[in-house]
């Protein structure tokens, strides 16, 4: 079929209607039916030199799996994806495809690109629905190694590195400071976007490869990195970027001001939305969320579902500059969240009881581009305005948690707190210690963390063969 004869638009994703979904925490995007998936898959041109594959950080053979899909070879399709991506059910849901694979799709020039993410999700869900997990049959290397590898952190970087190393025959132990594995996938991204059952399935799968998981185990407190490096033949740090940034403005410690990390942890990890759980959370009629990334969108939409009537997202740049996935912005808008763009909070207002009652903001305009190439916002004098709010959620970014450095020597870091590691191998300044994911890049994406975990596993294998 030629490019011309292909439908210009993609098959829409069935979704829970906005009016309904704001009252529950169930998944918003419901997933393609088999018919929808086959129809969407048939749009793929199966390019000889597929650009989409280059756009994928782990280079999934996209035309390959889509072709198998059109042939209804579902098992083959998922196997093809899993050859390079261990977590397709997750990536199909949360990857920013619009800036990666789908951004390169030839169809995107004249119409909508193939909905690659949705097809990836379909394949993964189809397999899950069948109760299978192809990779369960993963061949674990015959040459079982006596060498032990410690993985610190159980986010996508740590889980991916653990899986790959276990398959190579190493004895792998994951140390996780929280009571549950998954990192941001468990505590950050809400149920309505990424059901926790899926994350747990992936964790169980990795355990089934023989990986030992030690929750409630903080490196830097229970044991130092030095001690860990001594005890294990190699260490991988996938500790993420979990330290919340605050704005440093007046009133930020009033009751009702949350970091997005705290708010989302209470909601997702601790299930504050479920009355069966003891988790406490403060909710108000009016909520202000500060920031423009996925974290801000998730916080705003979670607040709505917890009963807030009005949620304002305050962001200092324009919509174009918002780092959130386009789909999340669209979903947030459909759900009635309002956006106060080119605005920045300057003060949190409180009452006599020390409770938040509002936020004073100032309008911004975009000035000259900064080092990152983005135009930096500057305040417009005299443009102050106030928003009422009983709850304020600050989602302006995070940096790596420095706890890992406690009591240890020899691990170099950047000024911003990220660990310095070689891009290809993840090797750090400390012998035998590798790092990858948000702890190296600063807050990024699930797929880039997985890519780093994969590369580090390969480098660790090479390192251990030599040493």
């Amino acid at each position: 079929m030629s490019e011309k004869s292909k439908p210009k638009t993609r098959i829409p994703m069935p979704e829970q209607p906005a009016g309904e979904r704001i009252n529950n925490f169930e998944e918003v995007a419901l997933g393609y039916s088999k018919e929808a998936a086959l129809a969407e898959a048939s749009r793929c041109l199966n390019c000889k030199e597929p650009k989409c594959v280059e756009g994928c950080p782990v280079n999934v053979d996209i035309p390959g799996f889509i072709k198998l899909l059109t042939e209804e070879a579902f098992k083959g399709a998922i196997e093809k994806i899993k050859a390079t991506n261990a977590l397709p059910a997750i990536c199909g849901r949360v990857c920013p495809q619009e800036t990666q694979c789908e951004a390169r799709c030839v169809l995107g020039k004249k119409g909508e690109p193939v909905a690659i993410g949705r097809l990836e999700r379909f394949c993964a869900d189809y397999e899950r629905g069948k109760g299978g997990n192809v990779s369960e049959k993963a061949i674990i290397s015959e040459v079982a190694s006596e060498k032990k590898v410690a993985i610190v952190g159980s986010g996508p970087a740590g889980l991916t590195a653990a899986a790959d190393l276990a398959k190579l025959g190493y004895k792998v132990t994951i140390f996780e400071s929280l009571h549950k594995a998954g990192g941001v996938l468990s505590y950050g991204i809400p149920e309505f976007r990424l059901p926790k059952a899926i994350v747990q399935e992936e964790v169980e799968y990795i355990k089934s490869l023989g990986v030992e998981l030690k929750p409630n185990y903080i490196i830097g407190r229970v044991k130092t990195l030095d001690a860990l490096a001594e005890e294990f033949d190699a260490v991988f740090l996938g500790t993420g970027a979990g330290l919340p940034r605050f704005m440093g403005i007046e009133g930020e410690n009033l009751n009702g001001v949350y970091s997005a990390n705290e708010f989302l942890t209470r909601v997702n990890l601790m299930k504050a939305y479920d009355p069966e759980y003891d988790t406490l959370i403060k909710m108000g009629k009016k909520v202000v969320v500060v920031g423009g990334g996925n974290v801000a969108m998730d916080s705003a939409r979670a607040a709505l579902r917890l009963g807030a009537e009005e949620v304002d997202v305050v962001y200092r740049r324009g919509e174009e500059e918002m780092p959130a996935r386009r789909e999340e912005i669209k979903h947030a808008k459909e759900e009635g969240i309002s956006f106060r763009l080119l605005s920045n909070p300057i003060r949190v207002l409180g009452d006599e009881q020390f409770n938040v009652k509002g936020v004073e903001c100032i309008k911004m305009e975009l000035g000259a581009p900064d080092e990152s190439g983005r135009r930096s916002p500057v305040p417009i004098e005299g443009s102050e305005f106030s928003l009422e709010a009983e709850v304020v959620i600050i989602a302006i970014g995070t940096s790596p948690n420095p706890l890992i450095f406690k009591g240890s020597k020899g691990l170099s870091q950047h000024k911003k707190g990220t660990v310095i590691a070689e891009a290809e191998s993840g090797a750090t300044s400390k012998p035998g210690v590798f790092a990858g994911g948000d702890v190296v890049t600063g807050a990024a994406t699930v797929i880039s963390a997985m890519e780093a975990g994969k590369k580090a596993a390969k480098a660790i294998d090479e390192y251990l063969k030599k040493n």
Partner: protein
């Protein structure tokens, strides 16, 4: 994961001491640190100071008073039972070293965290004068244990049923006014007691430390729920503390923040007590 309760006793009315099997925590623990526990999958995470620890037996003791839903539920567990999650040691250890003479002041359940500090300060070669207090003599904790690890021990009760009739801070002031050369005062107890105590000691030429107990979630610096203002700067109690220079702590903010969930907490406790009465629990 789950952690076995090895021992449990009621050390005062509605105050319990629990020994938990947690070898990794026991091995790493130092005076002044705390743990966070979660009773079961549906429970909240609450911080409790480490009241004692033994690296050889792998046990960690906590002392808690029945207050809200979680501590009431914890009190229903007994030896042989399990706690789902028990993570620690958390927080920066107390700055224990040889300073000379140290006054340790503990009020209410605040006596529990004072005990490992008394042990550590004594072991570091200090003269340790402890002052412990409670509302009445029934509620007084660890008198015998404290006596064994301190050079001097004073007692105060609000109702005068034991020791000095009045506040622990009255005795502290007397010592500070005496010829005794005191190098450091450490105060642990309810925030109001620490605030008052810090105020009383402030005019003297002595270092004053307090150990803060804020609302917490993770205990590793990832949520910021535990933030306090110290010397005009926001600090995270769970990693930067819990011990701070008392003269620099914003106690008013601390007390306000502790009341953040007061209504929700009362409702949860009432619901739980109602359930128990109906025999549903």
């Amino acid at each position: 994961m789950s952690y076995k309760i090895l021992k449990k006793e009621e050390v005062a009315p509605a105050v319990h001491r629990m020994e938990i099997n947690a070898p990794d925590v026991a091995k790493a623990a130092k005076a002044g640190q705390f743990i966070i526990l979660r009773i079961d999958e549906k429970g909240e995470r609450i911080p409790l100071t480490i009241a004692d620890f033994n690296p050889e037996t792998g046990t960690v003791a906590v002392i808690f008073q029945e207050m809200g839903k979680t501590t009431k539920q914890l009190a229903t567990l007994s030896a042989g039972g399990f706690i789902e999650d028990f993570v620690g040691p958390l927080g920066t250890p107390s700055d224990v070293r040889k300073v000379g003479t140290v006054i340790l002041v503990g009020g209410g359940v605040g006596v529990a965290p004072i005990y490992p500090q008394a042990k550590a300060y004594t072991a570091a070669g200090n003269k340790v004068i402890s002052i412990i207090g409670a509302r009445n003599k029934e509620l007084l904790l660890l008198e015998k244990e404290m006596r064994e690890v301190c050079s001097e021990l004073y007692i105060a009760t609000d109702d005068g049923s034991k020791g000095h009739h009045g506040f622990v801070t009255d005795i502290m002031k007397e010592i500070l006014d005496s010829d005794e050369k005191v190098d450091r005062v450490v105060i642990v107890g309810p925030p109001i007691m620490m605030k008052v105590g810090a105020g009383v000691a402030a005019p003297y030429d002595v270092e004053i430390l307090v150990s803060l107990n804020t609302i917490m979630v993770d205990g590793t610096g990832m949520c910021g729920g535990c933030r306090v203002t110290v010397d005009g700067e926001t600090k995270f109690t769970c990693v930067d503390g819990p011990e701070f220079d008392a003269r620099k702590v914003d106690f008013v903010e601390l007390m306000n923040r502790l009341s953040m969930y007061r209504e929700e907490e009362t409702a949860a406790k009432e619901k739980y007590e109602h359930k128990c009465k109906c025999g549903l629990h």
